[in-house]
Each structure stands twice: as structure tokens, then as C-alpha cells.
Symmetry: C2
Subunit: 121 residues, 2 copies
DNA sequence: TTAACATATGAACAGATGTCAATATGAACA
DNA sequence: TGTTCATATTGACATCTGTTCATATGTTAA
């Protein structure tokens, strides 16, 4: 293999159109943005969390309600709710001993509707 | 713990509002649909695939172009393209020895734009 | 303050996922 | 046909992720 300085080009034998590559590279968003975007989609990319979000479409729910609806342990639901909170997809309020969760904004509905449209084709 | 038949209720001590639970359960989509939806989002939930999709915003690209743009092995890019093909997010055509990939439809752009709006808040 | 309740957190484990190296497939052309 | 090139696939490996069990936190009421 050819070397450039100490760097070995793993893809030496590869069809690459350098002009196109440069043009596309110039337009790419920052890696950090793309990473954050992937992280957001990752949150939607688990059926347990999708089911939680769908349940919250209908009503504000407490942890116990959700555990019952999804037939999951309290612990598991709590863990997933933490992820949804961190991503700002759900918000919550306390009423005595009970925590009530609800959707944070309409982006969630829109994103999920978009996904639905795609898989329904 | 109490038992119902042979089923042990792991969540015996849990705040559950049965009426709400029943109402929400009645409105939930089929598990299969929710599973497919999660699978779709999972595809977007990887920064390599997001970067591939973003690159394809700009131009139709061959495997070598993408490998160069993302600084990844040909093998890895090919693997990810297969996943994107299976999810119908990209389409492809052959021209001699070269495979050209492009975005399959505008859902991809819309979904990603939605995600962007959310993280930009 | 103590007991009971609702939820959150930590550690550990199994299963899923992305990457690479090596190899296979398939197309073009001598 | 045989060789070269572009891409696809296979197997192995390390990392990431979701669940459970056990325990901690924080609230209410006696």
C-alpha cells in the first residue's frame, strides 16, 4: 500500500471522484451536530420508548400507569423515562408522591407521524 | 407477592389508575407497527448513517466517494448502505462497475429537518 | 420520627450493533 | 478466458444498550 507520511490509505483501490468529494465535504454540517442528531433519533429507535411516547399521546401518565400499560417493571420504565427527559421529549410534574409525565412539545408528534407515513407506504 | 394463576405480579406495589390504563391501551397501535416504527428510527440513530444521508443530500454518490467523505472503510460503508437500502431510504443504480446511491424520497429530508429543529432549540 | 409508598439509581448481565480484515461476487475489457 | 476493478458479504471482535435485582431517595401521614 502507498503511504502518505505515516498514514496508510486503507482505501487505496477505490473509485473516488475527488471533485465531488470536496464539494460534498464543504456542505456537510459539523460532526457535533450530526452526532447530536443521531443521538436524538436513537431515542426514538427503541420500541419501549416509542410505546411510552405513544401512550403519552393519550394522557398524562404516572410511572405505574406506564408500567402497567407496557407490562414492564417499574425500574425499566423509570430508566427509559430518564432518557426521554434528558432528550427533552417528555416533561414531568410532581403531585405528592406521584410523578406525572407528559409530552414536552409537538415535535414528538410530528416526528412520529413522519415515521408512520414512511412505513405505511 | 400475590399470584394470579401462575403469573407473579412483579409490580404489585405500584400506583396504577386502572381506568386510565384501559383507556390508553384501547388507543395504542398494534405492537408490530410500533416495532417497525422503532426500527425505522433506529436506522437514523447512527451518526455514520446520518452522515451518509446528509452527503446524499448534495449529490448522487458511489461507495468510494462516501468512504472518502466519511473517512471509513469501503466495507463499513457498504454495510451501512445495505441497511439504508433495506429501509427504503436510499435507492441505487448500476453504471458499469460502479453503483450510484441517492436518497429514495423526500421523507428522509423532512424527518431529518424535524430532528434538526428539535436539537436547535 | 417512623412506616409506607412512589419513584429513582447503581451494578451486573445478555443481547444487539458497528467496525475491520479477509474474501467473494459480478462487471468490463484485453 | 483471465485479469482488474468496484462493491458485497462473512466472521470476529469490542462496544453499546436495555433489562432486572437490589437499594436509595424523597414524600406523606400516623
Amino acid at each position: 500500500m502507498t503511504e502518505r507520511g505515516n498514514v496508510v490509505d486503507k482505501n487505496e483501490f477505490l473509485a473516488v471522484r475527488e471533485d465531488i468529494v470536496q464539494k460534498v465535504l464543504a456542505e456537510q454540517p459539523d460532526d457535533e451536530v450530526l452526532y447530536d442528531l443521531a443521538e436524538l433519533f436513537k431515542v426514538f429507535g427503541d420500541s419501549t420508548r416509542i410505546r411510552i411516547l405513544y401512550a403519552l399521546f393519550e394522557a398524562e401518565l404516572c410511572v405505574g400507569d406506564i408500567a402497567q400499560i407496557l407490562n414492564l417493571s417499574q425500574s425499566s420504565v423509570s430508566h427509559q423515562l430518564r432518557i426521554l427527559k434528558t432528550s427533552k421529549l417528555v416533561k414531568f410534574r410532581r403531585e405528592g408522591k406521584i410523578m406525572f409525565y407528559s409530552l414536552d412539545d409537538d415535535h414528538v408528534r410530528t416526528m412520529i407521524s413522519m415515521g408512520m407515513e414512511h412505513i405505511e407506504e
